[in-house]
């Protein structure tokens, strides 16, 4: 199997890792040379971890299955091409318009979007029948879920082979409809939203809320998790889903989120969010 990945950022490299680990020959495309160099190093790191866990037999063999290209036309032999460029509608549409001219009709095209409409992207394609959403979760080598999302114009006869391919990649594929936030990002909203309401209503403080939720079986409390995800990322996801559901109050963002984002208190990445990480090395 030949897999093409467009975009050598964190998600692109993660997808390339799981594809190559499963025996696919992978072509990673990016226009930025330094990004490709970073990708090679990151892939080596990922394969080293996989080797240490006994998931692959050879780091070098896995790396040999990875090719790094700077021309989109070099993806023309792939039977599956996954786009993982920045989450901007115009950039994604422009990418698909370019690639569509270079590849045969039989190639499956997929987007790794987490928030854009699959239907809207499909509508920009000449051949939307072979187009799907494949939503991977970060970090891709560790998180097993892939949401498989056909558009209303997708040919569903492609679906079984897509799902089988994801299983070969040792993923857990779930078939879902194109709807704001798909499954996970939507269903998880109340975990953050209720925590913020409980905090603002002074029912409990941040450490107490996190302690109670962890004692119920969640690996991280909602505030610890928001700090890890990044408050800006979490707030953007909430806003996107709220807008996508035409301002249904179930998804209403909380002013605490916006205040924190405005203040640049974004969580672990800025060393301060709901908790203070300045002392951490």
């Amino acid at each position: 199997m030949l897999t093409g990945i467009i975009g050598a950022g964190t998600m692109g490299v993660g997808i390339a890792t799981v594809a190559a680990q499963s025996g696919d020959t992978v072509f990673v495309y990016d226009t930025v040379d330094t990004q490709l160099k970073k990708a090679i190093q990151q892939l080596r790191n990922n394969f080293t971890k996989a080797y240490e866990k006994g998931k692959i037999e050879s780091i070098e063999q896995a790396l040999l299955r990875c090719n790094f290209v700077t021309q989109l036309s070099q993806l023309d032999g792939c039977d599956l091409i996954i786009e993982a460029v920045p989450e901007v509608l115009e950039i994604k549409i422009e990418t698909f318009e370019k690639i569509e001219k270079l590849i045969p009709e039989s190639t499956i095209l997929a987007t790794n979007t987490s928030s854009l409409s699959i239907n809207q992207l499909a509508n920009a394609l000449k051949n939307p029948k072979r187009f799907f959403g494949l939503h991977f979760f970060n970090p891709v080598p560790l998180m097993k879920l892939v949401e498989v999302i056909p558009s209303l114009k997708s040919d569903l006869s492609f679906l079984p082979s897509m799902i089988e391919r994801m299983k070969q990649w040792n993923k857990v594929p779930v078939h879902t409809k194109d709807s704001p936030g798909f499954i996970v990002n939507r269903l998880a909203r109340p975990y953050y939203g209720e925590a913020l309401h409980i905090l603002s209503e002074k029912i409990a403080d941040i450490p107490t809320i996190d302690r109670i939720m962890k004692s119920a079986g969640f690996k991280m409390g909602p505030f610890e998790l928001m700090d890890l995800i990044g408050l800006d990322v979490n707030f953007a996801a909430t806003q996107s889903i709220y807008k996508g559901f035409f301002y249904d109050p179930r998804f209403r963002p909380h002013p605490i989120q916006e205040n924190m984002v405005n203040a640049g208190l974004l969580g672990r990445k800025t060393k301060k969010g709901f908790y203070n990480y300045e002392e951490e090395k």
């Binding site: 409809k177 996970v184 939507r186 975990y191 409980i198 002074k202 302690r211 004692s215 109050p249």
Partner: protein, 232 residues
């Protein structure tokens, strides 16, 4: 060891009776026990989720006969403890707990009102320790922390199921493998019970008047028919 007095409808009382038996805590049903035995009660537990139920309202009939040093523990699942106080001559003995079924699995969330006596707080905490569960103190608000959050998560999963976003199995797989939840939300809903989830959401909606707390028709119907959320 003094008994606890339970007040509530039979099915809720049975769940608590089983749990108390497992902890070797004696108990009696307040509306069934001989009046003279009510003086020995060390704690009164309202087990109905709905404080407006006919059982809960009976507390006013028995108040004078119950040990005056026993705190009365309101159930925070569908109402704040403050709302029980209006049925009592001595409202300053009311505290509240939010605890999610199955009993014995989750932290006890403990709350007091602005007028609860210190002595009642101390006695209630001392007595609740007999359940051998972690206790966290929270504000007096319907649904507490975990019951409120899990209820809203499960409610959203039932909206998604109702819309046909994915199958029940796939919705549950997604949350387990996409965000590492310990259980799928619908599976969790069936463990807790649709009626309980609905009671929490409707209770919060009543107290906050916030349209954010809107139960899905799927949840409402399954709670009404006492059907599981998955495979029904």
């Amino acid at each position: 060891m003094n008994p606890w007095g339970l007040l509530g409808e039979a099915s809720a009382r049975t769940n608590w009776e089983k749990f108390l038996l497992s902890k070797e805590i004696p108990f009696l049903a307040i509306d069934r026990a001989p009046i003279k035995e009510l003086k020995s009660i060390s704690l009164v537990l309202i087990v109905d989720n709905d404080f407006r139920s006919k059982y809960t309202k009976k507390i006013s009939l028995f108040e004078d006969h119950i040990n005056p040093d026993a705190p009365i523990v309101a159930n925070l699942i569908a109402a704040s403890a403050a709302r029980l106080t209006k049925y009592l001559k001595r409202p300053n003995r009311v505290v509240g707990i939010a605890i999610c079924p199955p009993l014995g699995k989750y932290t006890i969330e403990f709350a007091t009102t602005e007028i609860t006596e210190e002595k009642m707080i101390a006695t209630a905490l001392q007595e609740l320790k007999r359940l051998e569960l972690p206790i966290e103190t929270i504000g007096d608000r319907c649904g507490g922390v975990f019951p409120r959050t899990i209820a809203m998560l499960i409610n959203e999963a039932t909206f998604a199921l109702q819309e046909g976003l994915a199958s029940a199995e796939e919705l549950d797989l997604a949350m387990k493998f996409g965000v590492n939840y310990p259980k799928g939300l619908l599976e969790w809903g069936d463990e807790i019970g649709a009626k309980f989830i609905l009671d929490v959401i409707e209770g919060i909606r009543t107290e906050t008047r916030d349209s954010r707390y809107r139960a899905s028709p799927y949840l409402i119907r399954h709670a009404a028919m006492n059907l599981p959320l998955i495979n029904s």
